[in-house]
Subunit: 216 residues, 2 copies
């Protein structure tokens, strides 16, 4: 289920891609974050909207006993930080050196153009969340990893090769698996000649159609 594969220029991502004009209107501010730096924290007040200008962002949540969950990743052009509560239930960190545009949510809500984009982005995000729930709820480990690779290739606007800006632990926490299982499935997909790994972060898709078949 790939509902985000629109050839929208804002959703293309080549490793350190920049989304031209990905801002949040005249009242927004740009901020830079180093790799692994926190953009906002769990429990922090949530009245800002963010948009990735360049780089990549990870949304995470830590359970009391230490179990970690990655809710998603955001690339250039994408909005994030929208939550219903007063406080963030999740935290956001930069996966690599990243620039984001930040604005008070109230200000954005007055700008018709940005607001429209925000709606579109939100609707797309809802679809992504639904697809991801399906993955977490009913897919096998192998299907999850295959789906993840296809999703990433898609969001990078590529078909044949992809770069993973996140490590295995992030992937595992995103897919609801352990790091070992992710590793095993990557190895299996490679053994099955569907993909080829130059190194853990560079994947070449050898048989896209077959990989997609693995997604379900």
């Amino acid at each position: 289920m790939r509902s985000f594969n629109t050839a929208s220029p804002a959703s293309t991502f080549a490793p350190p891609a920049v989304a031209p004009g990905a801002d949040l209107g005249p009242m927004s501010v740009r901020m830079s974050f180093a790799k692994e730096e926190e953009i906002y924290a769990q429990e922090e007040e949530a009245d800002l909207v963010y948009r990735v200008v360049s780089g990549a962002v990870r949304i995470t949540c830590l359970m009391a006993d230490g179990r970690r969950h990655v809710a998603g990743f955001h690339f250039a052009g994408e909005f994030f930080g929208l939550e219903s509560g007063e406080q963030h239930a999740f935290s956001a960190e930069a996966l690599c050196d990243t620039v984001v545009a930040v604005a008070k949510r109230r200000l954005v809500e007055r700008d018709g153009e940005i607001e429209r984009l925000l709606w579109i982005s939100t609707a797309r995000e809802m679809s992504r969340l639904h697809a991801h729930m399906l993955l977490l709820s009913r897919k096998t480990a192998c299907e999850r990893v295959a789906t993840f690779l296809v999703e990433m290739a898609d969001r990078q606007g590529r078909q044949d090769s992809l770069f993973l800006p996140m490590g295995r632990q992030d992937i595992a926490d995103y897919l609801g698996l352990t790091i070992e299982t992710v590793s095993r499935m990557m190895t299996k997909l490679q053994a099955d000649r569907l993909i080829e790994m130059e190194d853990p972060r560079h994947v070449r898709i050898r048989h896209g159609a077959a990989l997609m078949d693995c997604c379900e």
Copy 2:
């Protein structure tokens, strides 16, 4: 007509039974659906917004090989049907006799008041989806069932007792478990004296604090 016909005596489903004034503005239409009747189907065009007036709605998705996934349930006052694609990726069915308000999405977007409600509802739904992803990604079977019971009690505005308008299969597909596991966990929670089941759909919470501890 508003009672949840489970073929059992008048079951009360307190607070969110009917949401007074839960409509979608002057351009909206009311529609009634019988138990298990389809409100919209997977693949159907998605340009309408829905709001539950009374009853309960289930959002489901069927995978090609028959695996089923329940994305959520909606009760009186709640919006549903918002999707980013042109077509619905999910279908919606009435859990019991249900009345919904329906409007063209474009019309709703012109009504300031409804639009505001829609934003709030959407943000809340996003939070719910995030919480649910965490559940699917990292919680054990027991934690899932306990979380589900607490969530349902919460949404019914109760602390001590709750009514489940859906069957075990729906719960299982919502929690990413099998019907047998759900049943076993319900039995376990009862054996542990945290809950008590009058019948499969009527649950009394005997020790709310302990049940909440089970949620994580």
